[in-house]
């Protein structure tokens, strides 16, 4: 019950703006790139290149509210632990990422594109990987804006270097490679865990 209450409050007060930005990104994607009548590899393009960016928008600011010292002090004074709040926020954010990707995929299906569950998985892996990179840097530096820099750079590197990035190539599904997404997802989950652990470690040292 308490978990649900924390999630609801955080959704309303801390995540609404990010969710609106992510929805906007999904809405403008079909205006920029074709989403109709695409075969499986072509259908991966809007998902990998545009929709997966919602990961940066949603996950990077997970620690932002408590980066304001006053809010941090206030939250710390409550009986519910800050770590629990971080965890709940991370989990529902990942849920929102997956939900938005699913909705976009359903939309693509109605447009006659050949979309399958593997594309949902691949796009979610990309989003979680990029978002977790932002989350980790935001945790390490204590500044969300700095957290946005590395995922943007990594995205640019993918455009510049292409498949040379091997298992960490973000746009692999457009060239028919679906297996590397496991690496991206694993690295993403790992980075989320490290950033959460780092927050606990930092709090205990304070």
């Amino acid at each position: 019950m308490e978990t649900l209450e924390i999630a609801k409050t955080n959704l309303r007060h801390n995540s609404l703006l990010s969710i609106v930005a992510a929805v906007m990104l999904c809405l403008i994607t079909p205006l920029l790139i074709g989403t109709a009548n695409l075969d499986r590899n072509s259908a991966a393009m809007p998902l990998e290149m545009f929709v997966s960016l919602i990961g940066i928008v949603l996950l990077t600011p997970v620690f932002q509210p408590e980066q304001n010292e006053e809010i941090h002090d206030l939250v710390s004074s409550k009986h519910c632990s800050t770590e629990k709040v971080y965890l709940i926020r991370t989990l529902y954010t990942v849920g929102v990422v997956v939900l938005l990707i699913c909705l976009f995929v359903v939309y693509m299906q109605t447009q006659g594109s050949d979309v399958t569950m593997i594309l949902v998985f691949g796009a979610a892996a990309n989003a979680i990987f990029l978002g977790s990179m932002g989350m980790l840097v935001s945790a390490l530096t204590g500044n969300t804006v700095i957290g946005y820099m590395p995922p943007f750079l990594y995205y640019a590197l993918n455009i510049g270097m292409g498949p040379k990035l091997g298992n960490f190539y973000l746009f692999s599904m457009t060239v028919g490679n679906f297996r590397v997404k496991i690496w991206l997802l694993a690295a993403g989950v790992l980075m989320i865990m490290v950033s959460l652990l780092y927050q606990i470690f930092r709090r205990r040292r304070m």
């Binding site: 009548n37 072509s42 928008v57 804006v145 946005y148 820099m149 750079l153 640019a156 590197l157």
Partner: protein, 401 residues
């Protein structure tokens, strides 16, 4: 003094070192520090020299017609409106309009064309006496019906006229690279192409946002408002400090990259100032706009919204790609593109042909940056006087209380 203090503040910050690491990594990944492995070679007779696109009507018309016919039969047209692939399906009405155009080009009846399209009759011929300029007009109409970005657009039709380069032409290109670019200019241009698109048109916005939000985070805003320094001086110094701090590694890296070919281009008249010229002429406006957007929107909204706005603009710009040479130099490009190395003799002729476009683009971008800086000054001054932003809210709260 204040200028130096601001520079020191930027250079000592973590984001700045992330920026430096980013630019080194991005450029390293594109091989700009290995230019000595890709030297400008004089073409030798009897070799293969690559291809060029030429407007040869006899070649373009049948090839473009064949492509259009195939797509018309499948009612599935491939376009690249912003650089990414987009498949377009036309309505019956628009399909009829394309059939009319095909009818004019082939000389066949519109109804016959619509009837045959189901049976996928291959390669209809261009009718005798078809005028090329009229053909281009009709194809431009097809492009309009498809929403632009198709291979039938006037600036893309030449793509159907790809022919091999002759030895003489290759030699001419080589000589132009030696005489006009003086070798180092071509390498400096390639460096600018990568540095602009991968880092300098996006990451400076983060430095600007972080610096402008620093006062707010430290709750020093109100204290700084009370200082004697004018808003114009304060904002200009901050803008200059950001731009200079960003350009320092750019100057160093551009010379490091360019020097790789100095020692191995013996006997050639090199332009040792080429990296500096490209840094200032090509890259500086991109840095200025990215910084100005960051400062302006942060001051206006008090949030990091600038990062999202610049990020979106950058996404558009990157994905506009280098589909055609002219799109690489179009007026509103955040970062102009000219991705040509020594193996294509730097495509110096394309650069010289579009130099006016480049000049217009860079001046416009620099001009917009200065306007944004001016607006930032006005917002800062208004905030200081309590006519805008946080102070208004405070006043409201007081009156409500």
């Amino acid at each position: 003094m204040l200028f130096l203090r601001e520079i020191k503040k930027i250079v000592k910050s973590i984001p700045y070192w992330i920026f430096v690491a980013a630019i080194v990594t991005a450029l390293f990944s594109q091989g700009v520090f290995r230019f000595h492995e890709d030297l400008l070679q004089e073409p030798q007779p009897g070799g293969s020299y690559g291809f060029k696109q030429e407007e040869i009507p006899e070649m373009i018309m049948p090839a473009a017609l064949s492509g259009l016919w195939m797509e018309f039969c499948e009612n599935n047209y491939t376009t690249y409106p912003i650089g990414f692939v987009k498949h377009v399906k036309l309505s019956e009405d628009d399909r009829g309009k394309v059939a009319e155009i095909l009818s004019e080009i082939t000389g066949e009846q519109k109804d016959t064309i619509l009837g045959e399209s189901g049976s996928e009759k291959s390669n209809p011929a261009v009718r005798d006496g078809m005028d090329y300029s009229r053909f281009k007009e009709r194809m431009a109409l097809v492009d309009d019906l498809l929403g632009g970005g198709s291979s039938y657009a006037p600036d893309s039709l030449a793509g159907y006229g790809t022919v091999p380069l002759t030895y003489e032409e290759a030699k001419e290109r080589y000589e132009l690279a030696v005489s006009s670019d003086r070798v180092t200019g071509g390498y400096a241009r390639l460096f600018s192409d990568y540095a602009g698109v991968m880092v300098l048109s996006i990451l400076p916005v983060f430095l600007a946002v972080i610096l402008c939000m620093k006062d707010r985070r430290a709750k020093m805003e109100a204290l700084i408002y009370t200082k004697k320094i004018s808003a114009a001086r304060m904002i200009l110094i901050r803008f200059l400090a950001l731009v200079v701090a960003v350009m320092i590694p750019v100057f160093i890296l551009s010379y490091v990259s360019n020097m790789m070919v100095w020692g191995v281009s013996k006997g050639m008249q090199l332009d040792y100032l080429a990296p500096l010229k490209y840094d200032l002429g090509w890259l500086l406006p991109s840095v200025m706009i990215s910084t100005a957007v960051g400062m302006f929107l942060t001051e206006l909204t008090g949030s990091p919204a600038a990062a999202a706005v610049q990020g979106l603009w950058w996404m558009f710009d990157v994905n506009l790609g280098i589909k055609t040479v002219s799109s690489g130099y179009s007026l509103f490009r955040l970062s102009p593109r000219h991705n040509a190395g020594a193996d294509s003799w730097f495509r110096t002729e394309d650069y010289l042909d579009h130099f006016q476009d480049l000049l217009q683009n860079r001046l416009l971008i620099a001009g917009i940056s200065l306007v944004l800086v001016l607006l930032t000054i006005l917002i800062y001054e208004a905030k200081r006087r309590g006519k805008f932003g946080g102070n208004i809210r405070n006043r409201k709260n007081k009156s409500q209380a």
